[in-house]
Symmetry: C2
Subunit: 185 residues, 2 copies
DNA sequence: ACCTGAACACCGTTCAAGT
DNA sequence: ACCTGAACACCGTTCAAGT
């Protein structure tokens, strides 16, 4: 039963869900795959590379979930909800994303790729990336709080997290004003 | 030259700035303080406790920096800028905060404490915490991207990060609508 | 091509013992 | 009260060697 990259990422998510990010070591991952730790290095460059691969899966899954939106505001709302939902389906995945920083492939064409759906809906490339960055930041930040147990207990004790996130996202997306104050040249 | 908690936190920030979060180990920290690693445990419970102490310093510094604002929107804008600025003054500090999750003291009175300045400006306690959570989330998220070198290079190549953050924050704070859709009871 | 065994240079944390 | 020495149970990563 040979290893492969996707299977390693699958097993890593399973291990993450069971043990949390502290317990996600290459040695334990190898044990779960019935193999010795160095074997993993045949498929991934290092632990950071594994984290990047896992992070990429989280965000591309969210992107896929919001195809076919009628306008760029709807798209950004769906994307924000999708990103947060993706983080909340795997224990500590927001922490993992924060430590990995994504950027899975070469920087040249990835800019076009992430801007494309919003440019198709009428936004400039710069606004597309800027707004998307703010939406991911907000979603990541909330997910981070929701995945830190003492913080989660503290927050759920006095508010509805779903509503707070929704309120913040809605306020921001509604407030985006393309083309206003077109910085520098 | 006896140790003390604040001195340990100072040294930890200095070490963080020099080596990054990967290099921030208790053994190296001890060496910098001219002491053996276990000595640190007389002052802090464990490494997570050190991270929490460091995180608390970052956010309370930002809070202090925005006293005397005339209304709650101005306060939230100042706080968002202050939080991001605080993160950007220490290498990898957003990552550190994401891994630590703050919550330094007991949960009972800290709720009042963080809500107080906004309640004084007319917000309900629930809105105060909800909005503040969204503002911190957005600021933390952007700082995280800005402190991940490949991501930073990628983003600065096609946008002005200061402007993007400012646009997102401004849109969100302007869009907050207290009292609208008062969920459940 | 794919994996193991053994090793290197680290970790956080504990605990008896020193002063 | 405050710190050291020594140890435990881990890490990520490298690399020769096996198949």
């Amino acid at each position: 039963m040979k290893l492969n990259k996707e299977g390693i990422v699958d097993a890593a998510f399973a291990l993450l869900d069971e043990e949390g990010i502290e317990g996600l070591s290459l040695r334990r991952l190898a044990a779960r795959l019935g193999v010795q730790a160095p074997a993993i290095y045949w498929y991934i460059p290092n632990k950071a590379g594994l984290f990047r691969r896992m992070s990429a899966r989280l965000t591309t899954g969210a992107r896929a979930s919001c195809a076919g939106q009628p306008d760029w505001r709807s798209w950004l709302m769906a994307y924000g909800r999708g990103v947060r939902a993706a983080f909340l389906t795997h224990r500590d995945s927001a922490k993992l994303y924060a430590n990995a920083g994504s950027i899975p492939e070469d920087p040249g064409e990835i800019g076009d790729l992430i801007a494309a759906p919003l440019v198709a809906l009428g936004l400039s490339r710069e606004d597309a990336i800027s707004y998307q960055g703010s939406v991911i930041s907000l979603s990541l930040g909330w997910a981070l709080f929701e995945q830190t147990p003492p913080m989660r207990d503290f927050l759920t004790g006095m508010m509805d997290m779903d509503k707070s996130f929704e309120d913040g996202l809605e306020a921001m997306v509604r407030g985006f004003a393309p083309g206003s104050a077109p910085h520098a040249s």
